[in-house]
Symmetry: C2
Subunit: 131 residues, 2 copies
């Protein structure tokens, strides 16, 4: 019955840092930018994150690190918050990003080839190891 919000252990900001590798500042920034929805608060006003948020932040990082802009990320989150009706749009967004990532891989491959090519031009290192 806990489809969306498993009410397990709530995590403090510090714990989020430890588990996601993302700083508190960045976590707050993401929240402000609408990437984390409304984060719960303890009675003293301190943030309490959900187990799920750990995973979600990791997904966010993964998308960010592959070049998705904050803006697209926000769009994606808003769609997610809006429920099933937006499935198609989210699908398209991911699909588009996949294309971007695939292009990045092709670019990297080309770069790698160029680097290999240049490396091959240093004959003294061609085969052996450098000390």
């Amino acid at each position: 019955m806990d489809t969306t919000e498993a009410t397990g252990k709530l995590l403090t900001p510090q714990e989020m840092v430890e588990r996601t590798g993302v700083s508190v500042d960045t976590l707050r920034y993401y929240e402000r930018e609408g990437l984390l929805g409304a984060v719960q608060r303890a009675s003293n006003g301190h943030r309490r994150y959900l187990e799920n948020d750990v995973l979600w932040v990791q997904v966010l990082r993964c998308l960010r690190e592959t070049g998705m802009s904050m803006e697209d990320l926000r769009r994606y989150c808003e769609l997610g918050a809006a429920g099933e009706a937006t499935d198609a749009a989210r699908y398209e967004l991911l699909l588009a990003h996949r294309r971007v990532v695939e292009q990045q891989m092709r670019d990297l491959e080309a770069a790698l080839e160029l680097i290999e090519h240049k490396l091959a031009h240093y004959p003294q290192h061609h085969t052996g190891r450098s000390t």
Copy 2:
């Protein structure tokens, strides 16, 4: 006899833009930052690039786009300008960058898997095409 500076056609800034896809501003910026050595000038003070520069700028772009910082790029250029004695150092720099690029590729692959995984969760699009 033209080992380093083939004295063929000299290129205007505009022509460089057309052939490299890099803006004049960026070309000047690169020059200022020491990535292009001393660019020749026509009698009126206008820049005249070498044929070689086209290729070199493309290499620069390739390295930049794979995340090499301006600082490392400058280091690499300075080494290049200093002659053969620096071969080993340049080799190491490229080698290090290759490792960086290889890591980027692994990261992209991981990201791609995650994206595929998420895409697979939209059943209505699982097999067919979306209109």
